[in-house]
Symmetry: C3
Amino acid sequence: LKRIITLTTDFGTQDGYAGAIKGVILGINPKVKIVDISHQIPAQNILAGAFCLYNSASLFPNGTIHVAVVDPGVGSKRKAILIQTERHYLIGPDNGIFGLLLRKDKVKKVIELRNLKHFFGKISPTFHGRDIFAPVAAYLSLGVKPEEFGPESSGLRKLTLPRIKKSKAKIIGQIIHIDNFGNLVSNVTAQDLGPVKKMSVSIKAHTLTKLSRTFAQVKRGELLAYIGSADFLELGLREGSACLKLKARIGDKVEI
Amino acid sequence: LKRIITLTTDFGTQDGYAGAIKGVILGINPKVKIVDISHQIPAQNILAGAFCLYNSASLFPNGTIHVAVVDPGVGSKRKAILIQTERHYLIGPDNGIFGLLLRKDKVKKVIELRNLKHFFGKISPTFHGRDIFAPVAAYLSLGVKPEEFGPESSGLRKLTLPRIKKSKAKIIGQIIHIDNFGNLVSNVTAQDLGPVKKMSVSIKAHTLTKLSRTFAQVKRGELLAYIGSADFLELGLREGSACLKLKARIGDKVEI
Amino acid sequence: LKRIITLTTDFGTQDGYAGAIKGVILGINPKVKIVDISHQIPAQNILAGAFCLYNSASLFPNGTIHVAVVDPGVGSKRKAILIQTERHYLIGPDNGIFGLLLRKDKVKKVIELRNLKHFFGKISPTFHGRDIFAPVAAYLSLGVKPEEFGPESSGLRKLTLPRIKKSKAKIIGQIIHIDNFGNLVSNVTAQDLGPVKKMSVSIKAHTLTKLSRTFAQVKRGELLAYIGSADFLELGLREGSACLKLKARIGDKVEI
């Protein structure tokens, strides 16, 4: 049984916390393949972690174990969970971080991680990544059954996105994520827009009068609005950064 | 056939785009060894990507597959290519990113990537890293022959470096790269200098009157000029950053 | 013999120096498992590298080879060493970078790396990571005996931490490390404090009147003082950054 374990955290690498997780995993299963998805999620930003997983995790082969640790609630009462989906295993805090990813995959079972036998040393109050999530992932990769880590759990915390305001004439949403290339992701989904033919999208002082399908449909340096790969309305700039051009920030309003 | 695939991109890691490439590769060949060279190439900076590859890629064992995605022209008419060299396979956009690396290795064959059979899903207009380069690398690692990915291609886009100005009395070049330690790399090569015995190098208000061979030849905190590992004239500072000391930027003039 | 080699450096990834180390290692032993601990140690900061290793390296399985390259003295007379401990092998410059890690493990033997046979090419005066430490790690992973790399060495450079000032009434220490979450690590150890019952900790304009055991013992947004995992007195902020709140820097005084 030679499994893949992926890691998505907000640890950075310079303090050795990400290295600690790798050490614990390899200490239990030295043959598992560890794949870094990211250790650069902005600190304690669950939504950014959810986007990162949404863009990457579903592409891994069946049986992959995804560990995600963006965990502002560590030490509080938030549960530690293992989600078995139709294709993968997801391990992390129950705080919505898998919320977007689960739009692409189906939950089969949720286990609350409680069995101390499969934890690492005495559990520190601040570092469940090392003490709970890493060893559970490693034992799972060795063939331990999900049920052995704890009782089945009902319910799963939802990822809470800011709500849009919708009236007959318009939709008001906001920017909820900005990617590495400066593309602006809003909280307005394709479904929210519905099958409208004509629309305009306004952000700050700019108004776009149509929805584009590809960057190639506008000229270099021009703004465009499009439905991104995560099914949200996005704003981009051909061969440049919409974020820099608009001096945009998370929370900026988008009016449609 | 257990191959190594290296990755060099400007994606950063936080959006999951680098993770997506890894997922696609492992989805096709779960046994391949993926090695991160960098995901921190400055966005759309082909020359910086070329330096990174030049410093690292040739050191990998024969048969290694290097994937490089710094791709400002994605969606335009730039070709997607696979270069078979005497020792390695290079996969990426045809935009010169392999230009410096190819000074150390010899091109045997260039294939234009056209065979949809070895692509991933429907090709998105913006993410050829995931949809073309990653799956081609993965199928190649499984033993698919280069010819099966498309027709042979003649020609290869050159890496265009800024030109030096050369007269009898002097050479005027510029800084084209600044490394992590603040060393300044110019576009003046050892060949440009020729077998001169006496020379002086000026940058900003500073003039150096000789070419050093090692950092140990100057005192701590002193500037030096030397021929770097990429065969360009460089400026460094012993146990410090020439970049900070000179407040240097890419494009600054160097007069010799 | 399938070994793990970990890497901890201050190279960043964008120049390809970290990639060069991986290439050299895999060129010698293509089957070894390379694990990145960090390439983001602040440039030439030996103490930060020591903390990173302290938090992560001891967790890896027996027989792991840890390579650490934060090497401001490269090219000077500092030795290049291989330390065999009871559980691991440590390879890097003899500058104290393994100083904290060695509190958790016991030195069995120190070898000075001198045997050119196991080096890479001609040794560059500036890049021992690629030319000495990487190939030695790779040959070691193939089963070459420690003694074959050079003579046994007596002594090991200590990690020099700033000293505390201690009087009957108080201890004056300073902040020596700030982690990714903004926790402030001081140079005051649990031993320095001794078995005191009552104490107060002052930093800048703030005074804390007790030592906490966990973050949960204070309210959100409140400062706390505690003994961290590295056995130093630390200052943190529940669900936030003590560093930002206090505008703290390395070198700030802590009075107890």
